[in-house]
Symmetry: C2
């Protein structure tokens, strides 16, 4: 079966980039720079469901996205998490957190107002991320 993005992830985020393994998407929550990484493989629940070589690629891509977010936004802390209790399709959150963001120091889930970007700000953000991700 071909890979299909889970409808909830599709609804919550917009596309940014396509890496070797993962689709990179921007969570439509303007409060913090919040990226989703979704390996384009079917029937994955856990990182350890990926074969070893794909796990390596995932970690490399997480490091790439982490460095990009740090260089671009100078966050107080990066939050990197694979939870998936609500959306079962394997996805990894990489989030730039700031000591003055609306949820700090709590995790974003359930604690951050999920206010979407205004259209222009979203476009600007996506373009900025795409540029920063270019090798």
């Amino acid at each position: 079966m071909a890979f299909e993005l889970h409808p909830q992830l599709l609804a919550d985020s917009v596309p940014v980039a396509v890496l070797e393994l993962c689709d990179i998407r921007l969570m439509d929550a303007a409060a913090v720079p919040w990226l989703l990484m979704i390996p384009r493989r079917t029937d994955l629940r856990e990182i350890i469901d990926l074969d070893e070589s794909a796990q390596l690629t995932l970690w490399r891509e997480i490091a790439l996205v982490s460095k990009m977010l740090r260089n671009e936004f100078h966050p107080t802390k990066l939050n990197v998490a694979a939870l998936g209790n609500v959306v079962p399709q394997l996805h990894v959150h990489v989030i730039a957190r700031f000591s003055n963001d609306a949820a700090w120091p709590k995790p974003v889930w359930g604690n951050l107002p999920m206010v979407p970007y205004i259209d222009e700000a979203r476009d600007t953000m996506v373009l900025r991320l795409q540029t920063a991700l270019k090798p």
Copy 2:
């Protein structure tokens, strides 16, 4: 400077195992099997602060601990997260989550009653984890 475990991590958890890179500790919260992995390196905040070879070791050790928790407890979902908004010393949570646990489907942080193990149950759990982690 020699590596020293952050006092908060020391207070919240008990030792389980010492891997090549990480100390593995059991969070003293009886509600779910919840492990902490702390790389024994000084002055780390982010995973990407580790050199590339240590990052690889970290990912390998996370996979090892993840597989062990899955084999041992058959959780509904593993939660793997490097947050560190409260305790700045780099640490990774690997948590076995169940669809009937007290915080499900929310993340554990702030949503799980942090009731410690009774002494005997803690000892039994540590021994079980140590046995399961042995190669």
